[in-house]
């Protein structure tokens, strides 16, 4: 026969163990939530005394291959090249958010942005892909050219694919065009050098026209000629 006091002690100890287990599990869950929250690479806005201003970010969506202009308010420096670089860094940092519809790895992406005046006359560019122009382009360009120098680490970690790479470029070009309407063309460098592709597909030797890149792809149309 077990004495009564021993039974009480046993059940008290068992209750204590269960309570401690529940407390530990709760603590583990809290710690897990804290660690998961650390993965959110949301950049923390630096304290600034400058006033914010309206900008339009051209945000990409992988699901439907769309580019949508989205207004935002951010503080930007006044110097044009710094302004362009800060704007693009802000745009690309949006894609590092966990909720991004066009996920890219976090980290610095843009090394420099150069805004160049157009040359007086364009020299012969026979055999050069770097200065490729499309039919209908005039020989004289009145607008500026933006040269975006991307970081090699950004290229190395960019997802590979035609659509995903094209969306990144369109997003950059559209955002830059909205902030700098005087821009005429955009070119890309990687670590200061010409680079063939972004991540194996999108052509980085191409000179892109600085245009509104808003895109909402339409589905294929069944025309009379292709009725089944």
């Amino acid at each position: 026969m077990i004495p009564r006091y021993q039974r009480i002690l046993f059940w008290s100890l068992l209750g204590g163990i269960l309570l401690m287990a529940a407390f530990l599990l709760h603590g583990c869950e809290q710690a897990h939530k804290r660690l998961t929250a650390l993965d959110d690479a949301t950049p923390i806005a630096a304290p600034t005394s400058a006033s914010t201003e309206d900008v339009t970010l051209y945000l990409a969506n992988d699901a439907d291959a769309s580019i949508t202009p989205t207004p935002e308010q951010i503080a930007l420096p006044q110097e044009p090249t710094l302004r362009a670089r800060t704007l693009l860094e802000h745009l690309l940092s949006n894609y590092a958010l966990p909720s991004s519809s066009h996920p890219l790895q976090s980290g610095p992406a843009v090394d420099d942005v150069f805004l160049l005046e157009p040359p007086k006359s364009i020299p012969s560019t026979k055999g050069s892909r770097a200065s490729r122009r499309e039919p209908g382009d005039s020989a004289q360009h009145t607008g500026k050219m933006a040269v975006i120098n991307l970081r090699g680490s950004f290229i190395d970690h960019h997802p590979s694919g035609i659509q995903v790479e094209a969306l990144t470029l369109q997003s950059i070009i559209g955002t830059l065009h909205a902030a700098f309407p005087q821009l005429d063309e955009v070119r890309f460098l990687v670590d200061g050098q010409p680079h063939d592709t972004l991540a194996g597909h999108a052509d980085l030797l191409h000179t892109y026209p600085a245009i509104d890149t808003t895109t909402h792809p339409s589905p294929p149309e069944v025309t009379d000629a292709i009725q089944p």
């Binding site: 490729r132 039919p135 035609i162 659509q163 995903v164 592709t197 339409s218 589905p219 294929p220 025309t223």
Partner: protein, 235 residues
Amino acid sequence: LTLPPKPIAAVLTLALLTSLHLPAQQPTPRTVILLDPAHGGPETGANLDGHLLEKDLTLAFAARLRALLTTSGISVIATRDADPTVPFTPDQRAEIANHAHPPPCRILHATPTGNGIHLVTSNLTPADDPEAPHTAIPWDTAQSASLPQSLSLANELGVALLHAKLPVILTRAAIRPLDNLTCPAVAIEIAPLSLSNSDPTPVSDSAYQQRIGQAIAEAVLSWRTHNPPPPGAAR
């Protein structure tokens, strides 16, 4: 072992009739299609499903597509049939395609991002007058003359894929060698298939690839019907 004279005469008459009849038949024009399984060698392309590389998937899918197209009576030229140590550059791939002069060209890609099939055409500006005689075609913008046909081809492919109940996105991009091709050209990028209430189907799924291949083969046959090869074209 001599045959009676009547059967010999019958056989000779039949042979004569056959020989007279054969030249009168027009050979059935065969559509030639160029397949370019992208990447190869050290240029691996995207990393799909952890261990599968884009260069291997495009090669396997090209083999599957070749079988389906050949069965449908379409001749196939491919820029690669194996994984070479030193792959062709994009310019060399374009050279192969432009010399073969096939009516349609397909560039095959795969990606771990997005959903369904992405049909990509060049983002060049269409030429003002594609029928105008050219003294030379600029290499970097060679596709501009064929762009209207490329867009029509992409649309036809898209319709066939929609009929196969596969999600399709028509998009445009600057990629090589697409911009350097003189033939109507479309890049086909296969992405995982994500349907509602189900796990995504990976690009390596053979049933998924087969559905895509069959839809492409149907679209090529349809394209051949609506765009018969011109006289003197590759047969």
